[in-house]
C-alpha cells in the first residue's frame, strides 16, 4: 500500500472545460490524496507534454478522454504505448463512449482501465472516488523517478 502522503502527478487529457470543472470539483471534494494535476486540452497538447520530460516530470498516471479535437485520444494512446519510455505509465480512459469497439480497441492498445462519464453527478462522483482510491491508494505505481 502506498503512503497516502506520497505525491503523485496525474495528467488529465480533457477538452471539455465543463467536464474538467466537474472532475476538479470532485478531486477537491475528496482531498485525501496529494495529487498534482496537469491538464492538456487535446491530443497534440498531451503528446507534446509527455514527449518533453525536461520541462516537467512524467505523470504517474494519465486520465484520457477519447473524443478529442484534432489528435484523437485513441491516437494518443497508441503513441504512448509504442514509446518505450512512456508505455509503463498506466493510462485510464474516461469517456462518454460506451461503444464496445472503443472499449475493445483501448484494452487491445494496452489501457489500464476504461471508465464511463456517468450522466448522474452522484454516480460520476462514486466512479471518481473508486478511481482515486484504486490508483492512488490500493495500487503500486511504477515510480517515475
Amino acid at each position: 500500500m502506498d503512503d497516502p502522503t506520497l505525491s503523485h502527478t496525474l495528467l488529465v487529457v480533457e477538452d471539455s472545460d465543463e467536464d474538467y470543472e466537474i472532475f476538479s470539483r470532485i478531486i477537491r471534494e475528496v482531498d485525501r490524496f496529494d495529487l498534482s494535476i496537469a491538464r492538456c486540452v487535446d491530443g497534440e497538447d498531451a503528446l507534446d507534454y509527455l514527449m518533453s520530460p525536461e520541462d516537467h516530470p512524467l505523470p504517474d498516471l494519465v486520465l484520457l478522454d477519447l473524443n478529442l479535437p484534432g489528435t484523437d485520444g485513441r491516437e494518443v494512446l497508441a503513441e504512448l504505448k509504442q514509446d518505450d519510455r512512456l508505455k509503463v505509465i498506466p493510462v485510464v480512459v474516461l469517456t462518454t463512449s460506451s461503444n464496445p469497439e472503443d472499449v475493445y480497441t483501448c484494452y487491445y492498445a494496452g489501457v489500464s482501465g476504461y471508465l464511463l462519464k456517468s450522466f448522474n453527478p452522484n454516480q460520476f462522483r462514486a466512479t471518481m472516488h473508486q478511481f482515486l482510491e484504486f490508483w492512488f491508494q490500493a495500487t503500486v505505481l511504477p515510480s517515475s523517478n
Binding site: 465543463e18 462518454t96 460506451s98
Partner: protein, 778 residues
C-alpha cells in the same frame, strides 16, 4: 437410314448403289422399322423404259447390242430381233461411234448429249457405263439445232445471274422455282426441302396463278421412298413427259451378260414406279420433272415441276435445268452457312442484349422476368420456365406450375455430367406424366445452370401441328376416289404427315442449343457478378454500418456532453447555493435536471435502438424460466409495489439471444406494471405450443411456432392506438403520467423480436387489460 458401305470404295456413286442394293435386296430383313414396302421396291431395275425414247445396251469392247427396248421399231425403224447381237455400227456411222467412245472416255456429263442421226432421224443421245455394259439412250429431236457452248451459255446466263443475286436461302429457292418455270414452262414449280426425318416441306413455289398454292405444305417421309431418294443423288434430273404412259419392256428382260435385270440407276428413260405415276394421276399431274438439290453430297431437296397436260422437254432445256439445279446446290451451302451466321449473330445480339440489361437488375430472376421474350426467341420456343431454389416463374405457354418441379427432378436424373443440356421433341413419350400437355409441351429443352442451387431454365415447344404454316387450307380436290390407295392428294399427304408429327414438336436446332449453352456461361457470369456486387454491397453496408455506429456514438457523445454539463451544473447550483434559493428556484433547477435526464434517456434509447438492427445476435438455447426469474427479481427490487405474477407453467427453453430476450421481458413486464391503475395488479406470463388451441391468437401473428405472452389487467390500449405503441418515441400518455418513459421501450421490443425472425402482436380491451403475444422465429 444409314447402311454400312464397303470402305474400300469412296466413290459416292458406288456407295449410293450399295445403299440402294441393301434397301431393295429381298433377302435382307430391314433393320429399320420405318422401311415400308415402297422403300423396298427395286425401282432401279424395272427392265422397262418410258416410251419417249429408246434404250440400247452393248458390250464395251466390241459394241455388240445386248438389250434393246421393245419400241425400237417405232423409233429406229428396226425391230429388236433385227438388232440384238448385232454391232452398234449397224445403227450408227463410224464418226458417231467415235463420239460415243469419246464421250465414255471423258467425263460424260460434259459431252452428253450426243447429236446423232439414226435412220434419217435426228436423235439426241446420252451414254453411260454400268459395271458390265454401255447404256445408250436416244430421244428424237423435233427441231434439231446444233447446240454449241455459246448457245448453252446464253440460256443459262440470265438464270445464273438471278440466282447469284439472291441474298437468302428463301430468295434463292424462290428464284430457282421462278427460273425453272421460265425455262420449262411447267404449270407449277416447287422447291422441297427434306428435314432430318426425311419429311418434306414446300419452301418455294412458282405457279400458274389460277392454281391453288402448295407452299407451306408438308409431306410425310413415306411420300418419297428411301431408295428413290438415293437414286436422286445419282441421277439428278428425272423427267416424266406423260405420267399415263405405258412402260416399254427391254428385250430380253434380263441382261445376257449378267443374267440379271439391268441396273438402270443412271438411265434417263427408266420407267418409274407405278406407285409414283398413281400419285401423280391422283393429283391430276400429267407431266413431272424433278431436279435434285444436293448439299454436302446429301440430298437436301428437290425442284419439283408439275404440268397438267403432257409435256416433253428437250435435251438442251433439261441440261439447262440440271445446270440450274447444280448452281442452286452450290449456292445452298453458302446460303445455309450465311443463314446460320445471320441467325447466330442475331441470337448473339439477343444474348448480349440480355446480359447487358441484366446488370440493371438485382437478381437473375428479375433479369429473366424482364426479358422472357428474348430468351424464348433465343431457343425458338413458345414457353419458358425459370427456376431458382424454390422459386418458379413461367412465361408464355408452359405446362401447369405444379408439374414443373417433378419434371426438373426427372431432367436432372437424365443429365450425366458433364452434360448440361437435355432436349427432346417428344416429351410425352419419354416423360408420360406430361403426355396430356403435348399441345404446349411436346418439345423440352432444359438447361442446368446450378444443380446445387436448383437453378434451371426450361424451354417448351408446342406440338408441330400447332405451329405449322398451313400454307393456306388446301381444298379437298374434287372427283378423286380414295379407294384406299396410299397416296391421294397433297391435302391427304399433308394430313398423313400431320399424323406422323402428333405428339412431336419441331426439332431443337443446333444453333438454339449452342445459343442456350452460351447463355448459360453468360448467366453464370451474371450470377458471379451479382455475388461480387453483393459482396461489395455487403462491404459497403458494413462500412456504412460501422460509420453509422461511429456516428451514433459520436452524436450521442456530442449531445450528451453539454447535457451532462447542464445537469451537473444544476446539481452543483443546488448543492452550493440551495440555501440561497427559494422553493420555486430550487424547483426550477430540479426541473432542469429532470428534463436533461429525460433528454439523456432519449439519446441513450435512440443509440440503443440504432444498434439493435446491426449487432449480431448471440443465439443459444436459453432457459426462459431462468430469464424470467432474473427479470422479476430485478423488477421487484426497483419497483417494490405489490404485483401478483402469475406463471401457469414454467417457461420452456428456446434458441434465442439471452440478453435481448431479457430486455424484451423486462420491458413488457415493467410496462404491464406501469400502465396499470387497478388496486390489485396481476401479470401473467405464459406460452402456447403449436399443438394447443391457438384460436385466441391475433391473426396478424400468423405462425405455427410456440407463442409467448405477457398478459395484464392494466389500462388497456384503444384499438386505434394499437399500431402506435410500437412507433419510436410515440407516447400515448403525458410524460408525467404512468411514470413516463422514453417511448422507445416497445419499439426496441418489436425490433428484438423481429431480429429473431419473429413477430409481436397485441390484444387489448381498454380498461380491462392487454396481452402481448410474440414468437421468436425458428
Amino acid at each position: 437410314m444409314t447402311s454400312s458401305v464397303s470402305p474400300e470404295s469412296s466413290d459416292p456413286n458406288t456407295q449410293v448403289r450399295a445403299e440402294i442394293a441393301i434397301l431393295t435386296d429381298p433377302d435382307l430383313v430391314p433393320s429399320d422399322v420405318s422401311l415400308t414396302n415402297c422403300d423396298r421396291e427395286p425401282i432401279h431395275i424395272p427392265s422397262a423404259i418410258q416410251p419417249h425414247g429408246v434404250l440400247i445396251t452393248c458390250t464395251e469392247d466390241d459394241f455388240v447390242i445386248q438389250q434393246i427396248s421393245q419400241n425400237a421399231l417405232q423409233l429406229l425403224g428396226q425391230p429388236p430381233a433385227a438388232l440384238l447381237g448385232q454391232p452398234l455400227s449397224k445403227l450408227l456411222p463410224p464418226n458417231q461411234l467415235d463420239q460415243i467412245r469419246g464421250c465414255l472416255a471423258a467425263d460424260f456429263e460434259q459431252v452428253n448429249p450426243l447429236q446423232l442421226r439414226v435412220n434419217g432421224r435426228d436423235m439426241g443421245g446420252v451414254a453411260h457405263r454400268t459395271e458390265t455394259v454401255i447404256v445408250l439412250e436416244l430421244e428424237p429431236l423435233d427441231n434439231p439445232q446444233p447446240i454449241d457452248f455459246f448457245d448453252f451459255y446464253r440460256w443459262v446466263k440470265a438464270p445464273i445471274n438471278h440466282l447469284q443475286q439472291a441474298q437468302t436461302l428463301t430468295e434463292l429457292c424462290q428464284t430457282a422455282a421462278a427460273e425453272v418455270r421460265q425455262i420449262t414452262g411447267f404449270d407449277r414449280v416447287m422447291v422441297y426441302r427434306f428435314d432430318s426425318d426425311g419429311a418434306g416441306d414446300v419452301i418455294a413455289e412458282d405457279r400458274r396463278s389460277d392454281l391453288e398454292p402448295f407452299l407451306g405444305l408438308h409431306y410425310p417421309a413415306t411420300d418419297i421412298p428411301k431408295q428413290a431418294k438415293q437414286l436422286y443423288r445419282l441421277n439428278r434430273l428425272r423427267l416424266i413427259p406423260d405420267a399415263t404412259y405405258e412402260p416399254i419392256p427391254l428385250e430380253p428382260l434380263h441382261s445376257p451378260v449378267t443374267q440379271a435385270p439391268l441396273d438402270m440407276s443412271l438411265s434417263v428413260l427408266r420407267s418409274v414406279s407405278p406407285m409414283h405415276t398413281e400419285y401423280l394421276n391422283n393429283m391430276g399431274v400429267r407431266a413431272s420433272l424433278s431436279i435434285s438439290l444436293l448439299c454436302n453430297q446429301q440430298l437436301w431437296g428437290l425442284i419439283a415441276c408439275h404440268h397438267y397436260v403432257p409435256k416433253p422437254l428437250s435435251y438442251p432445256l433439261r441440261t439447262v435445268c440440271e445446270f440450274v439445279g447444280q448452281a442452286v446446290s452450290m449456292e445452298l451451302l453458302t446460303k445455309l452457312d450465311k443463314q446460320r451466321l445471320v441467325e447466330r449473330v442475331r441470337l448473339q445480339s439477343i444474348q448480349a442484349n440480355f446480359v447487358q440489361s441484366s446488370s440493371r437488375y438485382q437478381s437473375l430472376l428479375a433479369a429473366i422476368s424482364h426479358h422472357p421474350i428474348d430468351l424464348m426467341v433465343l431457343a425458338d420456343a413458345s414457353g419458358l420456365v425459370f427456376c431458382e431454389g424454390e422459386q418458379l416463374i413461367a412465361f408464355g405457354q408452359t405446362p401447369p406450375e405444379p408439374t414443373i418441379a417433378p419434371l426438373i427432378h426427372w431432367v436432372s436424373q437424365q443429365l450425366t455430367p458433364p452434360a448440361l443440356l437435355y432436349s427432346t421433341d417428344q416429351l410425352g413419350k419419354v416423360y408420360p406424366a406430361l403426355a396430356d400437355h403435348q399441345v404446349v409441351a411436346s418439345g423440352l429443352l432444359a438447361l442446368q445452370i446450378s444443380p446445387a442451387q436448383n437453378i434451371h431454365l426450361l424451354w417448351f415447344k408446342p406440338e408441330v401441328v400447332q405451329t405449322v404454316n398451313w400454307g393456306g387450307e388446301p381444298k379437298q380436290q374434287q372427283g378423286v376416289d380414295a379407294e384406299g390407295l396410299p397416296y391421294l392428294t397433297p391435302r391427304q399427304s399433308f394430313e398423313r404427315w400431320q399424323e406422323t408429327v402428333r405428339r412431336k414438336s419441331l426439332p431443337w436446332s443446333d444453333l438454339a442449343k449452342e445459343a442456350v449453352l452460351e447463355l448459360r456461361g453468360a448467366i453464370i457470369g451474371i450470377v458471379l457478378k451479382k455475388v461480387d456486387e453483393l459482396a461489395m454491397l455487403n462491404a459497403d453496408l458494413q462500412r456504412s454500418n460501422s460509420e453509422l455506429d461511429a456516428f451514433a456514438y459520436i452524436a450521442s457523445h456530442d449531445l450528451k456532453e453539454p447535457l451532462r454539463g447542464i445537469h451537473n451544473y444544476s446539481s452543483f447550483l443546488i448543492e452550493d447555493y440551495g440555501e440561497q434559493l427559494d422553493a420555486e428556484g430550487q424547483h426550477k433547477l430540479e426541473t432542469l435536471m429532470r428534463l436533461t435526464q429525460r433528454m439523456e434517456d432519449l439519446i441513450s434509447s435512440l443509440l440503443h435502438y440504432s444498434r439493435l438492427g446491426r449487432a449480431d445476435l448471440a443465439i443459444y438455447d436459453t432457459d426462459l424460466s431462468a430469464v424470467l426469474a432474473e427479470v422479476l427479481g430485478v423488477i421487484q427490487m426497483s419497483q417494490p409495489e405489490s404485483v401478483e405474477f402469475r406463471i401457469p407453467r414454467s417457461l420452456p427453453t428456446l434458441a434465442c439471444d439471452r440478453i435481448r430476450v431479457t430486455e424484451v421481458f423486462t420491458n413488457l413486464i415493467s410496462n404491464a406494471i406501469k400502465y396499470n391503475n387497478k388496486p390489485h395488479k396481476w401479470i401473467e406470463i405464459g406460452y402456447i405450443t403449436p399443438d394447443e388451441d391457438r384460436s385466441i391468437l391475433p391473426e396478424t401473428l400468423d405462425t405455427d411456432q410456440m407463442v409467448l405472452y405477457v398478459r395484464d389487467n392494466g389500462i388497456g390500449i384503444r384499438e386505434r392506438q394499437l399500431e402506435n405503441v410500437f412507433k419510436i418515441f410515440k407516447r400515448l400518455h403525458a410524460p408525467n403520467r404512468y411514470g413516463g418513459g422514453t417511448g422507445a421501450g416497445l419499439t426496441i421490443v418489436k425490433k428484438i423480436v423481429e431480429r429473431h425472425g419473429g413477430r409481436i402482436a397485441i390484444q387489448s380491451v381498454p380498461r380491462e387489460g392487454s396481452t402481448f403475444y410474440f414468437y421468436l422465429g425458428q
